[in-house]
């Protein structure tokens, strides 16, 4: 099976020089995408595989990191670009201040990654939503919630 070792990030697909070369390859070559979870972009050492079966071994210096659009390889025939899968969020909608306080306490106590959006608490999902809801106990039954993200069928509880 084909393998590719990556030892540094060449730049962003938006960098003018790289963008021009990627444009050329889109007509006369192959652009591969390496799909990664958001959390995995923090790793400097990582094994991953492209959709067409190219095994990629990443060994970055600590001052570099992966990001959406990072160009990992480019030659006259092909390029490899990181595509970060969109984050999935558990959206919790407290209907009272006491509910919001209790939700905030649990989210902090459980060290969840969160963001706030006009009274909604959004929790970044790194595991099935059911695992997160189980930690909320009775709140999960009372607080309306759903999951948002790419390819997510919106399910409101």
């Amino acid at each position: 099976m084909a393998t590719l070792d990556v030892v540094h990030v060449l730049g962003s697909r938006l960098d003018p020089d790289l963008a021009e070369k990627l444009h050329g390859l889109s007509h006369h070559g192959t652009i591969r995408y390496l799909e990664l979870e958001t959390a995995d972009t923090a790793r400097r050492r990582l094994r991953a595989t492209t959709a067409d079966g190219l095994d990629v071994g990443i060994m970055l210096p600590r001052e570099e990191r992966l990001f959406d659009g990072a160009v990992l390889h480019m030659d006259e025939e092909s390029a490899l670009v990181v595509r970060v899968r969109g984050e999935r969020w558990l959206v919790l909608m407290p209907s009272s201040v006491p509910e919001a306080l209790e939700l905030g306490y649990h989210a902090g106590n459980l060290h969840w990654r969160v963001r706030f959006d006009e009274g909604r608490l959004l929790v970044a999902l790194e595991a099935p939503a059911a695992d997160y809801l189980a930690r909320l106990g009775h709140l999960a039954a009372h607080v309306p919630h759903h999951v948002e993200g790419p390819d997510e069928r919106r399910e409101v509880s």
């Binding site: 590719l4 070792d5 990556v6 030892v7 540094h8 060449l10 790289l18 021009e20 070369k21 050329g24 390859l25 006369h28 959390a39 995995d40 923090a42 790793r43 400097r44 050492r45 990582l46 094994r47 071994g57 990443i58 060994m59 970055l60 210096p61 600590r62 160009v71 990992l72 390889h73 480019m74 030659d75 006259e76 459980l110 060290h111 790194e126 595991a127 099935p128 695992d131 189980a134």
Partner: protein, 216 residues
């Protein structure tokens, strides 16, 4: 066709050392596993160092430094001053600095192992600190640990169930415990070890070195 010269060639300098984390509750056998790993990694020619984390002492580091297994300068300690999970997850600055110092002291270092207990089953490593991490539990801690679905059990790259020789002595159905662990981890790997006898330590080294691209 236009000229394209930006291939990802090997750098002139050696790549930075890979960094891994070993977490788990106090007493699960983290230090004992490292003591077993040390000779295996040495035999495989891996240039490595260890950073330990303790609450207010350097107990784990001193144990390794006095073990005779490893050059004592390749072991350093971070005193968290609080529950150690704070310095591997919330703010790993002290550990990052300790890893950097190890790389400075030992040119060509390939691997830094960070060991930390703390926060019982909720301890997790920041991926800003490590590239890969494993969580260690032991059968004597109770066969219900996997079913408690702690973040360490669920999110680690590898779950190690240690002290498997004790299962019959503490009334644990090891097969069921391992099945529960695999069930809650959705396909992520689980490894049963015994640091006392060395059971599965070679396999553990295989998994670590493959994950961080240090296979020989």
């Amino acid at each position: 066709m236009q000229s394209i010269e930006l291939s990802n060639e090997a750098p002139t300098a050696a790549p930075a050392a890979a960094r891994i984390g070993i977490g788990g509750p106090v007493g699960c056998g983290k230090t004992a596993l490292i003591e077993r790993l040390i000779p295996v990694l040495q035999r495989r020619g891996i240039n490595f160092a260890v950073v330990t984390n303790d609450l207010v002492t350097k107990e784990d580091a001193l144990r390794l430094q006095r073990s005779g297994l490893i050059d004592p300068t390749r072991v350093s300690a971070v005193e968290a001053g609080a529950c150690p999970h704070t310095v591997i997850r919330e703010d790993p600055t002290l550990n990052i600095a300790a890893g950097d110092e190890m790389e400075r002291l030992h040119p060509g270092l390939e691997l830094v192992i960070f060991e930390s207990g703390g926060d019982n089953l909720a301890s997790t490593y920041s991926l800003d600190l490590v590239d890969w991490w494993m969580f260690v539990i032991d059968v004597a801690g109770g066969d219900d640990i996997p079913r408690k679905r702690g973040p360490g059990v669920l999110r680690s790259d590898l779950l190690v169930v240690n002290k498997v020789d004790l299962a019959p002595h503490v009334g644990v159905d090891l097969d069921q415990m391992l099945a529960d662990a695999r069930s809650v981890r959705n396909g992520r790997p689980v490894l049963a070890t015994n640091a006392r006898t060395g059971q599965a330590i070679e396999e553990l080294a295989d998994i670590i070195l493959h994950a961080v691209l240090l296979e020989r």
